[in-house]
């Protein structure tokens, strides 16, 4: 008697393509996915709990460890929330510095997402090209704050330090070269026949589904919804820049990938403009607002969202009037973007699962918090 049997495959926690310690329990029929059970928490460090026993400033380095690929954006989200809570006005110069570093962080994150996506689909060289640019960005971050991954650069009321002298020529050189580099990614990865065959039409996410499941960032925009908080609810000085929001059409893996590549070009534009404005400002202008030595926000709570690299990054900070935050909650875009993984994987092949996870661009530090 012949009979068929479902086959379960543990993808992860140690697996090259799950982008961290994430486990996907696949139920397979041959190579086709019947059901995908996501299991996470391998990187859960209890950052929300830890924050309760730290002072407001001490929480900043913890936010670095959430989305460690775009740590500046996490810093930004947190300090802006606390500033909103305390009613602090940040000096203009600091705002431009913040925009420059956070867009650089977005670039670094998207470079990694693009490269790792190529690697997921088996193109090793496609991985190395964006990493070359990411490396340059990391070097610049090192100039700014001495660290390459976990920056701890933003402060409540401003930033830790001024941009160093050697940073300006480096970023100018980078900005000059970068558009040609993105063209290279387009030539090597985006335009590749096999790459397109692997991603076009794979795991289509309709705009309705994307909204229902609270998707955000490139994943939502790839489904054709023009929702970018930098435009819709501008924070900081983002309303002063001229840039576009790339929107996909089909909501398939290719669009999700392509949205990121197009966003890199827009981030490049923002950095260019911010750098120009920053250099117009007199250098004597302060980089920090007048903030009390001991940060003790008044009783109250604020929920503030920014557009992170992976999607809408929200911080909910509750103060009880003491030096420690009463509760910090982070709305992590990777966590919520991942919640549809089961449905998105069903009916696709094992190789597509890798392509789907890669196109969602998750970071486990953020999923597990």
């Amino acid at each position: 008697m012949l009979k068929t049997q479902e086959f379960t495959l543990n993808m992860g926690p140690q697996h090259p393509a799950t982008h961290g310690v994430f486990r996907l329990l696949l139920h397979l029929d041959g190579e086709t996915v019947v059901k995908a059970e996501p299991i996470m928490g391998y990187l859960h460090r209890g950052i929300e709990k830890l924050a309760e026993s730290r002072t407001y400033t001490q929480v900043i380095p913890y936010t670095d460890r959430l989305d460690y690929l775009a740590a500046m954006l996490n810093n930004l989200g947190y300090v802006q929330t606390v500033e909103k809570l305390m009613g602090i006005e940040v000096p203009e110069r600091a705002e431009y510095v913040r925009v420059i570093v956070s867009e650089m962080s977005r670039l670094a994150s998207h470079c990694l997402a693009t490269g790792a996506y190529a690697l997921d689909l088996g193109a090793f060289t496609g991985f190395m090209f964006p990493f070359r640019e990411r490396e340059k960005l990391m070097d610049m971050f090192e100039m700014i704050c001495g660290s390459r991954m976990t920056f701890n650069y933003m402060r409540i009321g401003g930033v830790a330090d001024d941009l160093p002298e050697e940073f300006y020529p480096a970023i100018k050189k980078f900005l000059k070269e970068f558009p040609a580099c993105v063209d290279e990614y387009d030539g090597l990865i985006t335009g590749n026949e096999i790459f397109q065959a692997r991603t076009k039409g794979v795991s289509v996410l309709s705009s309705k589904k994307a909204i229902q499941y609270g998707m955000s960032g490139p994943v939502l925009r790839a489904s054709g919804i023009n929702y970018d908080l930098r435009k819709k609810r501008p924070y900081g000085v983002y309303d002063k820049f001229d840039f576009e929001v790339p929107v996909g059409e089909n909501g398939d893996c290719f669009d999700r990938y392509n949205c990121r590549v197009l966003e890199m070009r827009q981030s490049h534009r923002i950095i260019e403009q911010a750098l120009e404005r920053l250099q117009e400002l007199p250098e004597e202008e302060p980089l920090n607002a007048k903030v009390p030595k001991v940060i003790k926000p008044p009783k109250g709570e604020v929920y503030h969202e920014i557009e992170g690299a992976k999607g809408v990054l929200g911080y909910n900070v509750i103060s009880d009037g003491t030096v420690n935050p009463y509760r910090v909650h982070v709305r992590r875009p990777s966590f919520i973007n991942l919640s549809l993984i089961d449905e998105m994987c069903r009916g696709w092949k094992v190789a597509d699962v890798v392509a789907i996870i890669g196109s969602l661009d998750i970071v486990l530090g953020e999923v597990d918090c």
């Binding site: 086959f7 190579e31 689909l121 088996g122 060289t125 070359r132 890798v354």
Partner: protein, 349 residues
């Protein structure tokens, strides 16, 4: 120079005969010497190819590649093999031990066996078989069984999936491979590999049979599991496919065998389509075996170049491409070849 190796073999044979050994013993020992020479050649080549691949990959990816061990990093592979040899061979508890250990031991056999009939130059085949091409096809497809052995015996789900992919892939790409060669065989009317090379005096078959070359090359790349057809390994989805559970020398054997089989495909490409040892543009001052070598390495470089550029294709796309594109195309190629041959015959050429 041209006859360096044939002369060497000749003088060795003369020396053996002069010692007064019976003819059968002389023949056997000559064959043994030839086969050992081939074995050494293949192993050295596999070592060199690993190094070359890493260097090529390095330059494609803006990095220098291995450059620490030995001059220009030449001893890197040797050091790696040394390291792998000194490692423990871990046998999973649930594995089928006999098959698990047999697979890496056997994996080198098919490519080595093929090389017995491959002419490295004029009169430089160890065994000049009159059905050499047929022998090549028969032996080369044996590797499927060995990969499946490794995949099955590991008792690991990734290995099993990888093993299933190998079988599906190799069986379906064998067909276009054979069919594409048929065009060449029809023109030459022989299965003897040396004869096929000699009949390319006038025109290399890459120009007479361009489509067949393309199909042979693609199917060949798929046969030796190289990117973009490296689904069996598929490191981003299947970890390492059939080799997931292998460690130490077991892994090294599979690793080197991959290069040996890529070498087989390169040799066959050079022989069947690129004129083998024949010199182009009458540049006969360079010996034939060097030409052969250059052509083989040209194809090898092409294979590497593709590997370091393209993403991997998906399993259903692979099968679709094989059955819906390559097989019909190769059938069409045979049909057209036959038609043209008939017309030429009617015209009396």
């Amino acid at each position: 120079m041209e006859n360096l190796f044939t002369n060497l073999a000749g003088s060795l044979r003369a020396a053996l005969e002069s010692t007064g050994l019976p003819a059968i013993l002389t023949d056997t020992s000559m064959t043994m010497v030839k086969l050992t020479a081939i074995l050494v050649f293949i192993l050295l080549n596999a070592l060199w190819l690993v190094y070359m691949e890493r260097k090529v990959a390095g330059y494609i990816q803006f990095r220098p590649g291995p450059n620490r061990v030995g001059p220009k990093g030449l001893l890197q592979t040797t050091a790696d093999i040394g390291k792998l040899m000194s490692k423990e061979v871990v046998i999973p508890k649930q594995a089928d031990k006999v098959l698990f250990l047999l697979a890496p031991a056997l994996v080198f056999a098919p490519p080595l066996m093929v090389f017995a009939v491959v002419p490295f130059g004029e009169n430089m085949a160890a065994i000049d078989m009159n059905i050499g091409l047929f022998y090549f096809l028969a032996v080369a497809s044996l590797s499927t069984v060995i990969f499946w052995m490794a995949g099955w015996s590991s008792n690991n789900k990734y290995s099993l999936l990888g093993g299933m992919r190998v079988v599906a892939q190799m069986v379906s790409y064998e067909l276009p491979l054979v069919l594409s060669i048929l065009g060449v065989v029809m023109i030459t009317g022989t299965l003897n590999i040396s004869e096929i090379v000699r009949s390319q005096q006038g025109i290399w078959f890459i120009f007479a049979q361009p489509l067949a070359f393309l199909i042979f090359f693609i199917a060949g790349v798929a046969e030796c599991n190289r990117a973009p057809f490296d689904l069996a390994e598929g490191e981003s989805e299947l970890v390492a496919g059939p080799f997931t559970e292998y460690s130490g020398m077991g892994f090294a054997m599979f690793f080197l065998a991959e290069y040996a089989s890529a070498l087989v495909i390169s040799f066959m490409c050079a022989i069947l389509f690129l004129g083998g040892w024949l010199a182009p543009f009458g540049m006969t001052f360079i010996p034939g075996w060097i030409w052969m070598f250059l052509k083989v390495y040209l194809v090898m470089f092409l294979i590497m170049w593709i590997r370091w550029t393209y993403p991997r294709i998906r399993v259903d796309q692979l099968m679709g491409f094989g059955w819906k594109v390559l097989v019909p195309l190769s059938l069409a190629n045979i049909f057209v070849t036959g038609l043209v041959m008939k017309i030429f015959k009617m015209l009396g050429w």
